[in-house]
């Protein structure tokens, strides 16, 4: 029999049992719709996060002390490692060592709270270069001025505070020029940041910035850094600069084997890759949960196909009597189950796509997120081929059973 005729026969078989067919593929429809949604929303989230990150700048390189954390237990190493010191910074600043270094900013994190006249608040306290942070994130004070290079050199006791910090400590009163206390020491408020909310990795509103030199000498009593930011002259120079930094620091720390590094270098590209990996594993994990649903759907298809084969025993006998080969019958029933699941897959893709679209609209309208609607082509291809595969796998046994029926038995069957 010509393939076209077989296909027509199979589709006619499905059409005559519309309700049954529709119920049978419901499981497939739901599973495929779920896969499409997971992949679509996953891709949307990835886009969103990558947008946010790349806003931060692709020419930024981060150096951290200690070993690169491979698991949660390694993070302590980084926080308490003292391998990055002022001497390292001086070495990195030399053009002969790292020629394409545009700017270098060390930083420390100060645990603790701030207070003003009895009001206490627990913000994130960074010892950094405020001017640099401002220009990197494109944030400028609402009131006052950032502390300067000179303030950093002189260990000036000045702070820049976020809007939430200001509100918690001062309410509506004037804050600029007042002194707040950190660990019992007074710091002069020189600037207040505008309300920005979450930007990149921290909440601008809940931050307190002070010169890193001040944080080291006055608050922490340490001479090392927890993080060093390096800006390369251009995004293209990042790769070479990373290598220069590694070579310089190894020389400074007398390290010959890269395995023994007591620091690690992160680039935005690396971070982007990490986030992609996390989202991808999440997508795979969720998809495998859906795969279970798909198997259940497949069993439903198999069940209904077995019923159909028994119901149509007579038809099978007749077809064999007029010249159908076993293969013709096998193909007819296999095509029936595959058509069933592929139609289910297609409907699932449409439903999944529509739901993702609704989610997108809700996120855009009500959460003002810059969320982009995407249905990855791969998810459509994957959805359809998985559906087809389910049809083949779960249709094969019933189809084989049909094809093996003896024509006389089949004709006799009432």
């Amino acid at each position: 029999m010509r393939f076209r005729d077989t296909l027509k026969t199979s589709l006619t078989g499905l059409k005559t049992n519309k309700m049954q067919s529709a119920l049978t593929i419901l499981g497939i429809v739901i599973s495929i719709a779920a896969i499409i949604m997971i992949m679509s929303i996953g891709a949307g989230a990835q886009d969103l996060i990558l947008q946010e990150i790349s806003g931060f700048g692709s020419d930024i390189i981060v150096i951290r002390p200690g070993k690169e954390p491979k698991g949660p237990s390694d993070i302590g190493d980084t926080l308490f490692s003292d391998s990055l010191t002022k001497k390292d910074i001086e070495a990195l600043k030399k053009k002969s060592n790292v020629p394409e270094l545009e700017h270098i900013v060390p930083g420390v994190l100060v645990p603790g709270s701030v207070s003003y006249e009895g009001e206490t608040y627990r913000p994130t306290i960074f010892g950094y270069d405020a001017e640099f942070i401002g220009s990197a994130l494109n944030i400028y004070p609402e009131e006052g001025q950032y502390f300067t290079e000179q303030d950093i050199e002189m260990n000036a006791k000045v702070v820049v505070i976020g809007s939430k910090v200001k509100e918690e400590l001062f309410g509506s009163a004037e804050a600029l020029g007042e002194y707040i206390k950190i660990k019992g020491k007074n710091f002069k408020v020189v600037a207040i940041l505008p309300q920005k909310g979450q930007v990149s990795f921290f909440n601008v509103d809940e931050v307190v910035l002070l010169p890193y030199t001040t944080a080291q000498s006055q608050l922490l009593g340490i001479d090392y850094f927890q993080e060093v930011l390096v800006i390369a002259t251009s995004p293209e120079a990042v790769e070479k600069t990373v290598r220069d930094i590694e070579l310089t620091l190894r020389e400074m720390h007398n390290i010959t084997d890269p395995e023994d590094d007591d620091f690690y270098v992160l680039t935005m590209e690396g971070t982007v890759q990490q986030i992609k990996n996390i989202l991808q594993s999440l997508t795979i994990l969720l998809s495998s949960v859906v795969a279970i649903a798909l198997v259940v759907g497949g069993i439903g298809v198999m069940n209904i196909m077995l019923v159909s084969v028994t119901e149509r025993t007579h038809e099978i006998g007749l077809r064999k009597a007029v010249g159908a080969t076993n293969q013709d019958i096998l193909l007819q029933f296999l095509l029936e189950s595959v058509s069933l699941t592929v139609i289910g897959g297609a409907v699932g893709i449409i439903i999944g796509g529509s739901l993702s679209m609704i989610v997108t609209i809700v996120l855009q309208k009500f959460f003002a997120l810059n969320w982009i609607f995407t249905i990855p082509l791969i998810s459509i291809i994957l959805g359809l081929s998985v559906a087809a595969a389910v049809g083949v796998v779960f249709g094969l046994y019933p189809a084989r059973k049909a094809s093996q029926k003896s024509p006389i038995e089949a004709l006799r069957f009432e």
Binding site: M1, R2, R4, D5, T9, T12, T16, H314, E315, G317, L318, R319, K320, A321, V322, G323, A324, T325, N326, Q327, D328, P407, I408, L411
Partner: protein
Amino acid sequence: MRPIIEVKNVKKTYFNDEVETHALRGVSFDVKQGEFVAIMGPSGSGKSTLLHILGFLDHPTKGKYRLDGKSIDQFDEPELAWVRNQKIGFVFQMFNLLNRTTVIDNVKLPLAYAGIKNGEQDELAKIALEKVGLSHRLDHTPSQLSGGEQQRVAIARALINEPSVIFADEPTGNLDTKSGNQIMDIFSRLHDEGHTIVLITHEPYIARFAQRIINIKDGLIASNKTNHKPIKKPISRR
């Protein structure tokens, strides 16, 4: 000329739960090209078993059966399907039409399995339906037709591949006398046109349309006689 059907000492034994049933116990006869033969016998006489063997649907346990000089043993499964498709036309008591499929698609079924192109299928099916007087019913489904009409569709289907033999298994068994007569008229006409027909029935009246009547009893041939005066009615073309 070699007979189109040669049956020599054919035996068929069924084994069910270690109980042997001897359906055919040594049957021999020939059917020549263009003959109209009726095989008669009460139910349980083995005539259906014989028809299955003649139609290449079943293997004889012992003995030789040749259709057009070919034995069932020399074909594998797909070849056997091909032989059934090309050499044999079946007409069944229960019509065995596909109920949800249109009349024309039912008739086209053997052509589809022969791998003939769709356009050609339509043409041939229309000609075959014309022969049984149903060319006005192409797009009806079997359930919209009377029993007699359904059987005529089945005959058109049996004719369409121009088979060497038409096997009819109690073709009037489910019909009233009038429709039964119509069906028998069609068989008579097909015989006049040169078709070879083997008809199975338990009704003596129906058997008398044939040229020769073979009686089967308990798996053996009881008689094999020429019918000198087959029933021939002036054929009312519709």
